[in-house]
């Protein structure tokens, strides 16, 4: 594809803003964990981003490829199926400068770094740093590039008409399903569930981090969605304003639904669930942000907010999935809803039928390929590198046990906190 100078400049600016999404997510994950694990959460986030970026540079981009570039094509039933990219590794022979291919590589690098952060929200407080890095390598070098080739790199899903502008499937559902696989392999935190399966509340240590992280994430999401709209959805510059409007409307509607639902159910709005709703709205609307009318973006966000709120409860209470950051609900559930909502509510020139089938095929691929593959790869990794920290490490806190220093060494317990009023 060819981009005008203005489109190139806008994509570059958007990609300079996009890392704020990773920053916001890292803050959210840290804030939703306990203070004894706060530094480890941020350190793991930084390491996951770094490892993912390097793994993508070494191998991931080669497998992801780009639309119109060399690819591995297989003939099935007389039709060509574009299965995998075939570009050289290490960005060799990638035309440098502001070319669409290089900008797509930059977007891929930032997207995979964000995807690598998502499982941390679920596995936090017990997942060893070395295992986090190993899992990030597998995600960045194999899982993400394969699906991203199919959806963004001109692969068979893209040719079917699959729409995933900002990565609801490629980044978020993929990361969320990897988070589910990781949680299943890790098991719950010690003391989370009683012997009869009743969950104990383990509230996060800083709601301020979480809510500020939401604001940062929104800025990053605007960048990702805008860049994706131009690079992968062929949007012209005029459509970017709608992308921005849809992004904010989706997040706002989802956050408000989460706040209202928790107010009605528990008597007070819950800040962390509202934050989860906000991010869930960002995730859901990122798939079709270039194709949804604003009212449809609001509807997508409303449903996402409700889904996330009830999914968090169902996963924790009924399915005993200990997910401190709500990653599975926010990214996997909302991401898959976003893909389907695009097919139902989006406006496409040739009608919605073909797009809906492609979205269903995409969701099917996420459940039937990405989840088993992530589970298998991480299970194999767990045989080489133990995933879970020891009992003593979990009691002490990951900060002291793995890093040797706490996040808040000057914490003082204030006696007036305990004075009767």
């Amino acid at each position: 594809m060819n981009l005008t100078d203005l489109q190139t400049a806008l994509v570059l600016f958007a990609l300079l803003v996009a890392p704020l999404a990773a920053a916001g997510l890292a803050l959210i994950n840290s804030g939703l964990g306990r203070s004894r694990n706060a530094a480890h959460a941020m350190m793991a986030s930084l390491c996951a981003v770094a490892v993912a970026a390097c793994a993508y540079f070494i191998l991931g981009h080669s497998l992801q490829g780009a639309a119109g570039e060399r690819a591995r094509v297989v003939m099935i039933a007389g039709k060509p199926w574009d299965l995998l990219g075939a570009m050289p590794p290490f960005f060799v022979r990638l035309p440098a400068g502001g070319t669409p291919a290089f900008l797509a590589a930059l977007m891929g690098m930032e997207s995979v770094s964000l995807a690598a952060l998502i499982p941390l929200g679920a596995g936090g407080e017990r997942w060893r740093l070395i295992s986090v890095c190993g899992s990030a390598v597998l995600l960045a070098a194999i899982a993400f590039p394969v699906f991203a080739h199919w959806s963004w790199g001109g692969g068979w899903l893209a040719k079917l008409g699959f729409v995933d502008t900002g990565g609801a499937g490629s980044i978020h559902a993929l990361g969320g399903l990897t988070a589910l696989a990781v949680v299943w392999l890790l098991g719950p935190r010690r003391g989370k569930y009683s012997s009869d399966g009743m969950p104990m509340a383990m509230p996060g240590h800083s709601v301020v981090f979480v809510l500020f992280g939401c604001m940062l994430a929104a800025a990053g999401w605007l960048g990702l969605n805008a860049a994706g709209a131009i690079l992968f959805a062929g949007a012209d510059v005029g459509r970017l304003a709608m992308v921005g409007v849809n992004t904010i409307l989706g997040a706002s509607a989802a956050a408000l639904v989460a706040a209202v639902v928790t107010k009605v159910r528990f008597g007070r709005p819950d800040a962390s669930l509202t934050a989860n709703g906000w991010v869930g709205g960002l995730v859901a609307v990122s798939s079709g942000c270039a194709f949804l009318p604003p009212a449809a973006a609001v509807l997508t966000g409303l449903v996402a907010g409700g889904l996330v709120t009830f999914s968090v409860e169902m996963l924790e209470l009924r399915l005993e999935v200990d997910d401190p950051g709500g990653s599975v609900s926010v990214h996997a559930v909302a991401g898959m809803w976003g893909l389907l909502a695009t097919g139902v509510l989006g406006r496409f020139p040739g009608g919605n039928g073909a797009v809906m089938l492609a979205q269903v095929a995409g969701v099917s691929t996420l459940l039937g390929f990405v989840l088993p593959a992530s589970w298998g790869m991480n299970a194999l990794l767990a045989r080489i590198v133990p995933m879970r920290v020891s009992r003593e490490g979990e009691r002490q806190g990951m900060d002291l046990f793995e890093l040797g220093a706490g996040a808040y060494p000057d914490f003082v317990v204030h006696t007036d906190d305990f004075m009767p009023r």
């Binding site: 039709k79 009869d196 399966g197 399915l319 269903v360 969701v363 459940l367 039937g368 989840l371």
Partner: protein, 59 residues
């Protein structure tokens, strides 16, 4: 049961892929895609149940 669930997930996906590859656009293809999704849902339920801890009060 975990392995069975994961294999069912993959089987459902392959059913969807086969429908897209072998059938022409139409009602039959849509039905096969829906069937593949149903198999995947079954696989997901099985996998989720396999990961639930065994508790004495659970059926």
């Amino acid at each position: 049961m975990k392995t069975a669930g994961l294999l069912l997930l993959m089987a459902g996906w392959l059913l969807v892929l086969s429908a897209l590859a072998l059938l022409v656009p139409g009602v039959a293809r849509n039905c096969f895609v829906a069937a593949g999704l149903a198999v995947e849902c079954l696989g997901l339920v099985l996998t989720v149940r396999a990961h639930l801890p065994v508790r004495s009060d659970r059926g």
